[in-house]
Amino acid sequence: MSTGMTTRERLAIDRVHMVELDADSRSRNFDEVNRGLTPEEAVREAQRCIRCTNRQCVAGCPVGVSIPEFITALADGNLREAARILTRDNALPAVCGRVCPQETQCEARCVRGIKGEPVAIGYLERFVADWATANVAELGDEPLPPPTGRRVAVVGCGPAGLTAAGELARKGHGVTIFEALHDTGGVLRYGIPEFRLPKTIIDAEVARLLALGVTVECNVIIGKTLTLAQLREEFDAVFIANGAGLPVMLSIPGENLKGVYSANEYLTRVNLMGAGRDPGSTTPIIAGKRVAVIGGGNTAMDCVRTARRLGAERAMIIYRRSEEQMPARVEEIKHAKEEGVEFVMLTAPIAIGGDKDGWVATLRCLRMELGAPDSSGRRSPVPVEGSAYDIAVDVVVNAVGTRANPLLTATAPELKLNRWGNIATDDNGATSVAGVYAGGDIVRGGATVILAMGDGKQAAAAIHDWLNRR
């Protein structure tokens, strides 16, 4: 039916708005904020796509999802075909549909966005992925090629590792993922709160991989339990995707006071270990009534919104540049504001003060103003003389970034690193060691889920070629 629609008819449809939980009530629980689309809304939104021939949206997607094709199938009401296209191109569509910065990727390129609003590609991806999860039985087993007899080890069960594992399994290779933590998902599980990405979504995506024959071994730390050299002996190829798991410290006085957390610790306690969230959890956390989160990225937004949910009356983002310069997704900033988060902009922390018992009590800050652009092209903040003042706090969370974890590389001197300690690779993800590939944050430093997935997909293709040449 929709196939008969004219472009004019398509252009007349307004962009869908996704229902969200009410901000007041949601800011006190961990339920998912975005509620998804109804089938009618999804089909209607899909009909907004004008099916342009140059497929700009695909060029904007780091994993190259066949966006117009899956949207066309959806617009025609053919969900099975839409799901087949989407899951073929993207190992974690339900994750991407929730956490990708679509507004700077696929939707930024959408032709409909030139004179109006782009097609809600992220919402549609989420809808189709969730439909696929709910209808696994109906979709049936994915046909797989005969086993090649080749075995690939994947280090890390985060977005890059999961993506590469899926791609390689679909080529018939035997894949084992080694994960250092006790559960799957990497940063998806420990780093992204449930109100943005429910754990059931990660479980479903991992289950899809297991159904392809992928093996996951948790509690194995490559570089400690097994070395890269041991993996090289046991497997035909290795893909390293162990993330950028090492917090960058603020390096200001008072950082070791009680109540000062790195974002990784704060989020891991809550997301991975259930502190303050799961009544059965034995993991403690200092909740805090006045919480200052330092940083302006998605991780900072996750921390500050978590703080609200743990009961903070004042939950503040402290960021040294202006709001326009914040790297966080527009939607995360909007959601945080709706939930009562205070945005303290152009403010740089210089010291953390404590009480007599060693608990954090104040965050000493300087006001900043914007000066000349720095090497990244952003105007750099300059301190305003004599502007130091104190903010009363009882928890401080440092969310300024992460760097490469040296655990694996310290025991693999044969791997070439760059000057920041990240693994050096060529454009295909090949490292200095034959048969060893790397991708995600361990190569690029802290970045996004989708860029890590793009690396996983690209490296899997390169590994497949390499295995075929041998």
């Binding site: 250092a180 006790h182 194995v220 730390i221 798991g245 950082e255 070791n256 790195s262 059965g280 040296p406």
Partner: protein, 278 residues
């Protein structure tokens, strides 16, 4: 899942578990630790690998049951299973032949000391071991440590075994005597004990290694929760340690950070023991 081969009570609230973990048994070195959880949903607990048998594929863990999660670990009987055992983590002990070394263990720290003392003895050091505890019931591994030491000295606070007093008293005698003075001292135990040992050896310039036990989450350097101040610099005990130069450690800061969750632990009612855990 990791099979528990045996579970014995060594002292009040202190258990010795032998666990099947073949990869860890063959890759671990003295000074390293594992992260353990009995069940899903529990806190990740760092535990020193007390010993290992690579041929049998087993490791030995000493577990002091003090909080909810450690209570659950010691409650797993022989034949039962631990859900997660991850490791080996941390840097191994730097072992060399100093000639004479002193190994000082306090309470459950004696268990952490054991693999170090063993490795030091195997490297040809003449080991003097001093272990202490509240009373005779809390003195552990005396026979095992005695077997590899030239001399084993025991102190108890109530005098029920060995000399009444603290481990620092016999150590003072050692360092004061040029004929017995150790080339290096290894101290593992409560923070005040390690601090006292470090202060005692400092004026003599004796290399002193302490093994720190800060609050730790992932054990791989990811969270930074285990940061300790060493020589004025923030170090992560999980990847830079757990052993550090005792003369450079900020023990005040360590003790303070260890107290972070004291209140929440104190009010926690243990689901296994069914009572409040001190």
């Amino acid at each position: 899942m990791f099979d528990v081969i045996s579970n014995e009570v060594l002292a009040p609230n202190l258990h010795q578990l032998v666990v099947r973990a073949p990869r860890i048994a063959s890759s671990r070195l003295p000074g390293q630790f594992v992260i353990v959880r009995a069940e899903a949903g529990e806190e990740r607990i760092p535990l020193t690998i007390g010993d290992a048998d690579a041929a049998a594929g087993t490791i030995t863990l000493f577990v002091q049951a003090i909080g909810a999660s450690t209570q659950r670990i010691v409650a797993v009987p022989a034949g039962g299973r631990l859900r997660d055992v991850a490791g080996p983590l941390g840097l191994p002990t730097h072992i060399r032949n100093w000639g004479r070394v002193a190994c000082i263990g306090g309470g459950v720290g004696t268990a952490v000391l054991f693999p170090l003392a063993k490795a030091l003895a195997e490297a040809g050091n003449e080991v003097t071991t001093i272990i202490g505890g509240r009373s005779a019931r809390y003195i552990i591994l005396a026979d095992e440590l005695g077997a590899l030491s030239r001399e084993l000295l025991v102190t108890t606070e109530d005098g029920s075994l060995g000399v009444q007093g603290f481990v620092t008293q016999p150590l003072e005698g050692l360092v004061a005597d040029p004929a017995r003075r150790p080339g290096a001292v290894f101290a593992v135990g409560p923070v005040p004990m390690m601090r006292a040992v470090a202060e005692l050896t400092r004026p003599h310039g004796i290399e002193t290694v302490v093994s720190l036990n800060p609050i730790m989450i992932d054990g791989t350097g990811m969270c930074g929760g285990c940061r300790v101040l060493v020589g004025g610099e923030a170090k992560f005990a999980c990847v830079d340690g757990p052993e550090f130069d005792g003369h450079l450690v900020d023990f005040d800061n360590l003790a303070d950070r260890l107290a972070t969750y004291r209140e929440s632990e104190a009010s926690h009612v243990c689901r296994v023991a069914g009572k409040e855990v001190a």
